[in-house]
């Protein structure tokens, strides 16, 4: 029987979408588009390389709004065999607790799983709770922050980078692994696979299909209360330009503003 791998992916606003203003050299974030969380691309790649080696089945799951469809098609176009988008208005506004619960319930409904792979964290909320949360709900072992994942005869071998070396852990399946951002080089989507993916489509599961009561999920199932949000103001720049052939002027001004100090002071 083929090894069953489940990969958890989240669609996030693109944090790479920054344009550098060539005049002021400021970063500027315009029109955000949605992309697959980058660490989750690494999670999928880890799954696909195991598939390359032993011929596993790779299923991708995501909880999110309908526009996450592009992420589903993208994962199929990279080589996943099946994609399930868990989407229902009841799931909206979830904090990490019901997110983990919903994903765990989805995985139980899928039935057989040997390896579950998640990213270390999302780029938009960055809690890193969801992977370990799912492992706890399913009551299985977990390997976190892995830089490499391998499979051998019923065991997952994970490498973890520590300050003073690499820790290699070998855990019997089923096991959940969270992988580091940039821990591998995700393969590209291909046109052939993308055409096939669009033709084949992906599954959308609602709350009935996942089989959880509405009060356990989404906003209602979220214990966190956000008290207050603060946005950080960008400091205004004076926008003054300096003649770089006359550094003396700049140095003098920095000295006067006490940014620079003379040696003897």
């Amino acid at each position: 029987m083929a090894v069953e791998i489940i990969v958890m992916v989240k669609q996030v606003p693109d944090s790479q979408e920054v344009v550098i203003d060539p005049v002021t050299m400021n970063l500027n974030r315009s029109m955000t588009r949605n992309v697959t969380n980058r660490a989750d691309e690494n999670a999928l790649e880890a799954a696909l390389s195991i598939k390359d080696k032993i011929g596993a089945n790779v299923t991708v799951i995501s909880m999110g709004p309908p526009q996450a469809e592009t992420t589903m098609i993208e994962c199929l176009a990279r080589g996943a065999d099946r994609a399930i988008l868990v989407s229902d208005r009841f799931f909206g506004g979830a904090d990490t607790y019901p997110t983990g619960l919903t994903l765990a319930a989805t995985i139980s409904k899928i039935g057989k799983y040997d390896i579950i792979i998640a990213g270390e964290e999302s780029s938009d909320s960055s809690t890193g709770h969801v992977g370990p949360g799912v492992a706890e709900f399913l009551d299985i072992d977990q390997i976190t922050y892995a830089s490499n994942v391998d499979y051998e005869d019923g065991y997952v071998i994970g490498e973890r980078e520590l300050e003073d070396g690499t820790e290699v852990v070998k855990v019997p399946t089923p096991v959940l692994v969270t992988v580091l951002l940039n821990s591998n080089d995700p393969r590209r989507q291909t046109l052939r696979r993308k055409i096939d993916a669009i033709r084949k489509g992906f599954e959308v599961w609602n709350i009935e299909k996942v089989g959880l009561p509405p009060e356990w999920v989404g906003v209602r199932g979220s214990p966190t209360i956000v008290r207050r949000m603060r946005s950080i103001k960008e400091k205004e720049r004076a926008g003054k330009k300096y003649d770089l052939t006359n550094l003396g002027e700049l140095v003098k001004e920095l000295y006067e503003k006490k940014v620079l100090k003379m040696e003897e002071e």
Binding site: D21, P22, N28, Q189, K194
Partner: protein, 430 residues
């Protein structure tokens, strides 16, 4: 049997229009775009003269993401200290709103979505690597080593058509056939835009400028268009003069335009949102590539169907119309199941009767005249000094207009012979 009736490479206005036309007639169409979503590679915006869309999207004026309709058109000469303009406003544009400002990211995404709704398979986030060619016939496209077959391939890659060039279907444009376009988008409030440009709700401003203050004999034009709460502006720079100078960067020219005393006050307080630079094709009729062959057609900028008068750039309209004509040609070819060069030459028959080609023919050699010292130096200088003399009361007795004009002409660097020659050429071409 091919997998698709037609494969379209690139979901800009040309590619999406072709796909909409073909898919709405029930053809099996694959539209491949490297940006995810479509439009994400095409920043900034421009003025869309969208009349051609009526044929494929009768409801476009109600459903497309249009910013403002053009109510006020300004053509100006900018000298170091002055702006001399023709400011044309008309209520007529209110009824026939054919010119609209658009932001490409949104507009391209809209068109691609319409192609998908019409039944085309739209695959974004994928770059076509090359063409599959068998016995001298284009039979499909290649990506990551896989071939996807189509009876006809429509190349709509835009101004830098790598795939078409690699397959030898188009040559690399000559320096004299391209200009550099630099674009920026500034965010401002809707109220500020309405007030500064004297506009209402949906009405918009389109300004085109000859930048005659530039030093080192560089020729460039500028444009500035209002969107709902942003301003698209940019410069179009003559490459030959820029290369000859060698010291000035295209960014400097953009910067000087933004800093011009009468331009800076229009964008004052705005924040820069987007910035991009492109090569733009402005070659004439002679330098057009043959836009069809065995199993393929070239549309939009890939075929060279854009037009520039040194200030404005127009191309979306030709992109749309050429896309539709290519689509119609495929529909006919499908009926006969004949995608040979001869069958696809019906595309050329259509083009010959359309503005995409006729504008090029009728304005042949236009850019040689436009990129001239007459337009970029002599006329603005002359206007500035004669208007200065005419309009200001300086306590001296009044002079006749002809005296003023002659005096201004003699103050420019051009000889009278040059002036007559260039003036005559310009008239002939207009």
């Amino acid at each position: 049997m091919s997998e698709f009736d037609a494969i379209v490479v690139g979901a800009g206005p040309a590619g999406s229009s072709a796909a909409i036309k073909m898919a709405s007639q029930g053809l099996k169409v694959l539209l491949v775009e490297r940006g995810e979503p479509p439009g994400s590679k095409n920043v900034s915006g421009g003025i869309l003269w969208g009349k051609d869309l009526d044929a494929i999207l009768p409801d476009w004026e109600k459903t497309a993401p249009l910013e403002r309709y053009v109510e006020r058109k300004v053509t100006s000469f900018l000298t170091k200290d002055s702006e001399i303009s023709i400011d044309f406003k008309t209520k007529k544009f209110e009824q026939t709103k054919t010119g609209y400002s658009v932001l490409r990211t949104k507009f391209d995404q809209y068109l691609a979505k319409r192609a998908s709704q019409a039944g085309a398979m739209v695959v974004s986030g994928i770059t076509v690597d090359g063409l599959a060619i068998k016995d001298g016939r284009v039979i499909g496209v290649i990506n990551e080593g896989d071939t996807i077959t189509g009876d006809c391939v429509i190349l709509a890659e835009g101004p830098n058509p790598r795939v078409a060039m690699a397959a030898g279907l188009r040559s690399k444009p000559e320096d004299t056939d391209v200009a550099i376009g630099v674009k920026q988008v500034y965010k401002l409030s809707e109220a500020a835009i309405n007030e500064r440009f004297n506009l209402r709700q949906n009405s918009g401003f389109a300004g085109e400028y000859v930048l005659s203050y530039l030093e080192n004999d560089i020729f460039a034009g500028g444009f500035l268009y209002t969107n709902k709460d942003t301003i698209s502006m940019g410069v179009v720079i003559n490459i030959e003069t820029l290369r000859r100078d060698g010291r000035t960067h295209s960014y400097d020219i953009m910067e000087q335009f933004v800093q011009h005393p009468f331009i800076s006050r229009l964008v004052e307080g705005g924040t820069l949102q987007e910035y991009s630079a492109h090569f733009v094709y402005e070659g004439g009729y002679e330098s057009l590539a043959k836009p069809y062959g065995e199993g393929y057609m070239l549309v939009g900028d890939t075929a060279g169907f854009s037009f520039s008068n040194g200030m404005i750039l127009q191309g979306m309209n030709y992109a749309i119309s050429s896309g539709i004509m290519a689509g119609e040609t495929v529909i006919e070819a499908k009926k006969d199941n004949d995608f040979s060069e001869k069958s696809l030459s019906r595309y050329m028959d259509r083009l010959e009767k359309s503005p995409a080609i006729l504008d090029k023919k009728n304005f042949a050699g236009m850019n040689k005249v436009v990129w001239s010292s007459l337009v970029h130096r002599a006329v603005p200088e002359m206007l500035e000094s004669s208007l200065g003399m005419m309009l200001y009361e300086n306590g001296e007795p009044k002079k006749h207009l002809t005296d003023i004009m002659m005096k201004s002409i003699s103050s420019t660097e051009l000889t009278k012979k040059d002036l007559i020659m260039q003036g005559y050429r310009l008239m002939r071409r207009m």
